[in-house]
Amino acid sequence: MTFARRLVGFNLLSAVILGAIGYYLGWWLGHQITGPSLDYFGDTGQNDIALYLAYFVGVVGFLIGLGFANYPVQRLLGRPPSLREKEQAGWTRYISLCTDHKVVGIQYLIGIGAFIFIGGLNAMLIRFELLTPNQHAWNGNNYLTLVSLHGTMMMGMMTSGILGPFANYFVPIMIGARRMAFPRIEALTFWLLMAAGFILMTSLAYGGIPTGWTGYEPLSDQANLGMDAYVAFFALVGLSMTLLGLNMLVTVITMRAPGMSWGRLPMFVWGTISTSVLMALAAPVLISTLLMVGMDRTAQTGFFNDQAGGSPYLYENLFWFFGHPEVYILALPGMGILLELLPVFSRKPLWGYRLAVTGMLGIGLLSFLVWQHHLFVSGINADVRPFYMLSTELISLPTGFIFICALGTLWRGRIRLTVPMLFALAWIFNFLIGGLSGVFLSDVPSDVTTHGSFFSMAHFHYTIMGGLLFAFFAGIYYWVPKMTGYMLNDTLGKWHFWIMFLAFNSTFGPLLVIGFLGQPRRVVTYAGYLQGANIWVSVSAFVLGASMLLFLVNFVYSLVFAQVPAGDNPWGSKSIEFQLPSPVPVHNFDRIPTFGPDPYPYGEGVAGGAVQRPAITPARPER
C-alpha cells in the first residue's frame, strides 16, 4: 500500500481529527447546560461542565477515530467485521488500533516513555526553582502546576509502566498463548492512557493544577479549570488500569498452555498477577472518588465540604484507599522483574519460589489494610493509629520474603554483571533504603516530624524511582533485544547505569536528610540553612536527567543506526521467550508449547536444564 493509502482509514490521524471535533462538540454542549446551581459560572468565568464534556466527548471521538467502534457497529449491523485491526505487518499498526499484543507492548513502551520524559522535564524545572529560596524562576502559580504535573503524570503513567510494555508483550508468551484474552480491550487500555496524558498536558492552558498529585479537597474544589484536566486524566487512567488488570487476570487464568500450572509460572507472571488484582480492585475506587470531585466542582454537591454535610476526611480516606494499593501496583512489577532476571544472570534456580509467591500475594493483600498511615497526624481517631502502624510495619514481612529470595538466588551463583543485572542489583540497594525509610514513616512518633516533608518524598522516590524505574530499565535492556531484534549498546548502557545510579542516590539521599531537617514538601521557598543541600540535590538531579538523555541516545542509536542483531538468545536465558526468534513472530509459536516442571531450570546437575524447550520450528521474523 502506498503511504497515502495507509494514512486513510482508522488510525491516529482520524482519531485526532474526530477527537478535536468531539472536544468542540462537548464544549458547546456544556455551554448549553444552565441551571440555578450553576450561576457561579458567571462570576468565575470557568465553566467546568463544558470542559468535562469537551474532554469526554473528545475521548469518545478519539476512540471512534481509532476504530474501536468498528467491531460492535459492524456486528450490530449484521456484517462481518473488517480485519484491518488484525493487520499483520506494516508500521501503521503502531499508530492504529492493533490487536496484536506485541504491537500493543511496543506502543506502550514508546507512549509511556514519552510521557515519562515529559514528567521528568517537569522534575528538572522543579529542581531548578529550588536552587534558591528567594529567587523565583517560574512565574507565580506555575511552580505548583509543575509539581502537580510531575507527580500526576508519573503516577498515572508508571502504574502501567511495566505491565503495559512488558506484561502485554511477554505474559502471553510466557504462559504459552498466542494472544491476550481480550485483545481489543488491551489496545483500548493503551489508547485511553495516551488520551489521558494529552488531556493532562492541556491543563496548562486552563490555569494549571494547584493541589499536587493527591488532589486534596477542599483545595481541589477551589482550583481553576485546570483541575478538571486532572480529574479527567485520573478517571481515564483508572479505567485503563482496571481493564488492564482484568485482562491480565483472565488471560493468565484461562489461557495457560498444557503443563503451565500455577506452581510453574515465571515470577514475572506472578508479579503481573498480584499487580492486576490490585489494579482491578483499587482503581474503581479512584474513579468513583473523582466522580464525586467532579460533582463537587460542577453541581456544587457537598461530598467533601464540611459545611455541606461532607468531609475533607472522606476524600483523604477514599483517595488513599486507592492510593496505597496504587503504590504497591508500582512496586510489585519491579519485584517481578527482579526475580525474573536474577536466576538468568546468576545461572541458578530462583531461591524459595513458594516464599517469593507468598511474598507478592502477601504484599497485595496487606496493601489494602494500611492506607491510614497517610493520615496519622491529620486528626483521625487516635485509637486506630496503633493498628495501622502494625499493619504497615507488617508489610515489611512479605517484602522481606522478596529480599531473601533475591539474596538466595545470588548465593553461589555465577553472576554476570550485564546491564540488566546491574539495574536489578541497584533495585535491591535502592529498595532497601526506600523500605527502611518507610519503616520510619510507619512509626507514628517518627512520622510526626517526617510526614509531609521531603523525607516522605525521598522515601517514595527511592521505592518508586529507585525500585520501579530501575526495574523498568532492567526490563528494557533485557527485553528490547527480543522485542526489536537489535541489541542496545552495552558500553552506553553501562555509562547510563552508573551515572543514573550515582546521580539518583546523590539526589535522593540528601533529600532524606533535608526532610528530617525541616523542609516541607511542595514549597517554593525554604529556610536559608538548607540552601547548600538543595543546590547539591538540584545539581545531582540535573546529572540524573542527563543520564536519561544518555539512555535516549543509546536507544535511538542502537535501534535506528547501529542495529546490531541480537539473535534469539543474547542472554543465554532458558525462559521461553528467548527460545523464539527476535523479534517474536506474529503468531508467537508454530505449535503451542508444553511446559516442563521448572521455570528456572538452571544449576549444575540439571540435565540440559531445558525441560522447557517448546516444540516449535522457529519461524523467520516478519517485518
Partner: protein, 218 residues
C-alpha cells in the same frame, strides 16, 4: 531507509522537541515586569486601586476582582513591585469594590504600619468592622496588614469594569509602612472576595496579577 535519511529524521525530531521545550520554558516564565515606583530619597509613593471586575480589556477573566497599580498615570494590572530597602512607603488605595466581609475578624485590625493607624476617607483609625471589609493589603513577612473598607451596596455610580476613575463610588485608604532588608516577599488579600469560588479563595485570590503579588526589596 538510508543512513542519511535516518540521521535527518533524528535531527528534525530533536530540533522539534527542543523547540517545544523552549516554548514550554518561555510559557512558564512569562509574566509581568515588576513596577518600580519612583523613589524620593527613602520615600516611595504607591497608588493602588481595587476593583470588583477587572474587565475584558485587562484580563481574559473579566469578572475577577483585582488590584491595579498606577504606573505613571496609567492603571496597570501588575502586582509585582520593586521597592528600596529600609524605605518608607506611602500607600494610597482607592477601593471601588463592595463589602465581602472577613472570615477571620482578627484581620480587620491594622498591624505593622506606621503609627498603627490608617486613614479611611480622611479619618484616622486602627480597625474597621470586619463585615464591611472589601479586601486587605497584607505583607505577612513584615507583619503588615491593612483592611480595605468596601463601598455600600446601594452606593451610586458604582464602577463596572476597571480601570475606574475617582468620580465613581469609592473609599480612599492611606497608610505607611517601612520595608526592611533586601528580599523577596509576598503580599496578598485576606478577604474571601473571589466570587463563585469555594471559600472565596480561588481564582483571582490564587493568581498572581490579581489579588496576590510580590514585593522585591532591593
Amino acid at each position: 531507509m538510508s543512513r542519511g535519511t535516518k540521521l535527518l529524521g533524528v535531527v528534525i525530531g530533536v530540533a522539534a522537541i527542543a523547540a517545544l521545550i523552549a516554548a514550554y520554558v518561555v510559557f512558564l516564565t512569562h509574566g509581568p515586569t515588576p513596577y518600580r515606583p519612583a523613589a524620593n530619597g527613602t520615600t516611595v509613593n504607591l497608588k493602588l486601586q481595587t476593583v470588583a471586575a477587572v474587565g475584558p480589556k485587562l484580563s481574559p477573566n473579566e469578572n475577577w476582582v483585582s488590584y491595579l497599580v498606577d504606573e505613571n498615570g496609567t492603571w496597570k494590572r501588575s502586582t509585582v513591585w520593586t521597592l528600596p530597602a529600609n524605605a518608607t512607603v506611602h500607600v494610597t488605595v482607592l477601593n471601588y469594590d463592595g463589602q465581602s466581609g472577613l472570615r477571620n475578624p482578627f484581620l480587620a485590625q491594622a498591624r505593622g504600619i506606621v503609627g498603627r493607624q490608617f486613614t479611611l476617607n480622611g479619618k484616622a483609625m486602627s480597625s474597621i468592622n470586619p463585615d464591611e471589609a472589601s479586601h486587605t493589603f497584607a505583607i505577612p513577612d513584615f507583619n503588615v496588614i491593612v483592611p480595605i473598607h468596601g463601598i455600600a451596596d446601594d452606593a451610586k455610580n458604582q464602577c463596572e469594569f476597571a480601570p475606574c476613575d475617582p468620580s465613581m463610588a469609592h473609599d480612599t485608604i492611606t497608610f505607611t509602612f517601612r520595608t526592611g532588608k533586601k528580599g523577596h516577599y509576598r503580599w496578598q488579600c485576606f478577604v474571601p472576595c473571589a466570587a463563585g469560588f469555594v471559600y472565596g479563595f480561588g481564582g483571582p485570590m490564587q493568581t498572581i496579577g490579581y489579588m496576590d503579588g510580590f514585593i522585591n526589596v532591593v
